[in-house]
């Protein structure tokens, strides 16, 4: 969780509308190397759209994204080069259903990084080991549990050696008893110094891992600060209420 001062990702004044509906109304934040930022907020507040704007899966209407000082926005032709450096983990895993766990991790190395097959296999296997799934390497997604699928998808993102990983509610689609194994993997990454943006409702996780918690509502950042500040004296009453409610819910799901 130590961070030197190098800014890895900077999000500047991002706007996005769908038709008349404004989803993002000027969101800005930066993240330094090795930091974990957790984004929280009610559903519909634009968290997922924000993540997709960062790697341009959704093209923002205005604003800038910089990855290590290079502008990502307005570089549609080179976007694939940037996307390699920004891993993404989806709520519903989106593993490639026709490929085994190993090949899911391998395919980006072979087709995108043009690694030779042997080296790719070796690296993919290492990544699977990192998430504790080397024994499941030859199983297909349909043969894995939700937690295992999500760990494979984390391995798939890791394999590309990203500068930052974006997590879009990585545990929201999981049965409660499977959430722990996925959070454990993400925590370990944080400790190992991976730079991460995590959209989540897991407050226990946010408290223990985040360098900063960002509270979003209605398409903009309403509050941000260290977990200590956010849980104990947030600037806005609304933040307090939201955190209170979500913590309560989280507690209930643990029982």
């Amino acid at each position: 969780m130590q961070s030197d001062n190098k800014i890895v990702l900077s999000v500047e004044n991002i706007h996005k509308s769908y038709g008349k509906e404004k989803i993002l109304k000027g969101v800005s934040f930066t993240i330094k190397k090795g930091e974990t930022k957790v984004i929280i907020g009610p559903s519909g507040s634009g968290k997922s759209t924000l993540l997709r704007c960062i790697n341009q899966l959704t093209v923002p209407d205005g604003g800038k994204i910089l990855l290590e000082n290079e502008e990502v926005t307005h570089h549609q032709k080179e976007i694939n080069r940037f996307r390699q450096k920004m891993g993404m983990v989806f709520q519903d895993f989106n593993l490639f259903d026709h490929l085994t766990a190993l090949k899911n991790v391998e395919i980006g190395l072979i087709k995108v990084k043009k690694m030779d097959k042997l080296a790719a296999r070796k690296k993919a296997m290492e990544e699977l080991k990192q998430v504790g799934l080397e024994k499941q390497a030859n199983l297909y997604p349909a043969q894995l549990s939700g937690g295992q699928k999500q760990r494979v998808s984390i391995a798939r993102a890791l394999a590309m050696d990203p500068k930052v990983i974006l997590f879009d509610e990585p545990t929201s689609a999981l049965d409660p008893e499977l959430i722990g194994e996925v959070l454990e993997v993400i925590k370990r990454l944080a400790l190992a110094g991976m730079t991460m943006v995590v959209v989540t409702h897991e407050m226990g996780f946010a408290r223990s891992v985040a360098n900063e918690i960002i509270f979003m509502e209605d398409g903009s950042i309403k509050d941000q600060g260290t977990p200590y500040k956010m849980f104990n004296n947030p600037e806005h009453e609304r933040t307090k209420k939201f955190l209170h409610k979500i913590t309560e819910l989280y507690g209930k799901s643990e029982e």
Binding site: R83, Q84, F96, D97, H98, K111, V112, A142, S153
Partner: protein, 220 residues
């Protein structure tokens, strides 16, 4: 002349020759038609507006007009534009175009059944849209399309008999010639029908084996 002698002495050799032509016709039309179907479907689903509407128009035209009419145009119509096709070529082209149109609809359905997330996940690791289509979407969609496409392929085996209309003497044509010469319609076409049934059985067996071999847990 008894039936057995008729079949052995007179019917067998021309029918086998006809069968060989039929096999050649479908051996070209099946793979090319399928490939065309894949291209049309991908163009329709992932192409820009222009390409997509072109592919839709293609399907409309070739699915919407009788194959017989298409064959007439290819064989009897094109020469007036200076394009002369052999009967065999005209038949293969007609079958390919028609088969492509039907395949494309089965494949389009399969492509649209693949979740959006697959495209996003592919793009998120830095693949181009084209790469995602080739390496991620098609391998899944084509597996799902196999039952539908098998249907079209089996149908093609049978509608290859229309080649006779453009003077390409294949199995049905060979049968027709003998039948009218000896006035033995029932017997000749029973044998012809049996040969089609045999060919369809083989094709079905091949397609079933293919489907089993490509099976992946959770797909299809």
């Amino acid at each position: 002349m008894d039936t057995i002698t008729f079949i052995r002495e007179i019917l067998l050799s021309p029918l086998l020759e006809g069968t060989l032509v039929t096999v050649k016709l479908i051996a070209y039309s099946i793979p090319i038609g399928f490939l065309l179907g894949v291209l049309i479907a991908v163009g329709r689903v992932y192409g820009n507006k222009l390409l997509s509407s072109f592919c839709a128009l293609y399907t409309l035209f070739f699915r919407g007009s009788p194959l017989l009419v298409q064959l007439f145009i290819l064989y009897y119509g094109l020469p007036s534009f200076g394009i002369f096709l052999s009967p065999f070529m005209a038949a293969v082209l007609g079958f390919t175009f028609c088969s492509g149109a039907y395949h494309s609809e089965y494949i389009r359905g399969a492509l649209q059944s693949i979740k959006m997330g697959q495209m996003m996940a592919g793009e998120a690791i830095g693949m181009s849209r084209f790469q995602v289509i080739i390496y991620i979407i098609l391998p899944q969609a084509l597996r799902r399309a196999i039952p539908g496409c098998s249907n079209e392929i089996i149908y093609l085996v049978k509608y290859s008999s229309l080649a006779f209309i453009v003077t390409c003497v294949e199995l049905t044509g060979a049968g027709k010639i003998i039948a009218s010469r000896y006035f033995e319609y029932t017997l000749v076409f029973l044998v012809v029908g049996a040969i089609y049934l045999f060919m369809v059985s083989i094709v079905t067996k091949i397609l079933n084996t293919l489907e089993k071999r490509l099976e992946i847990p959770g797909i299809g």
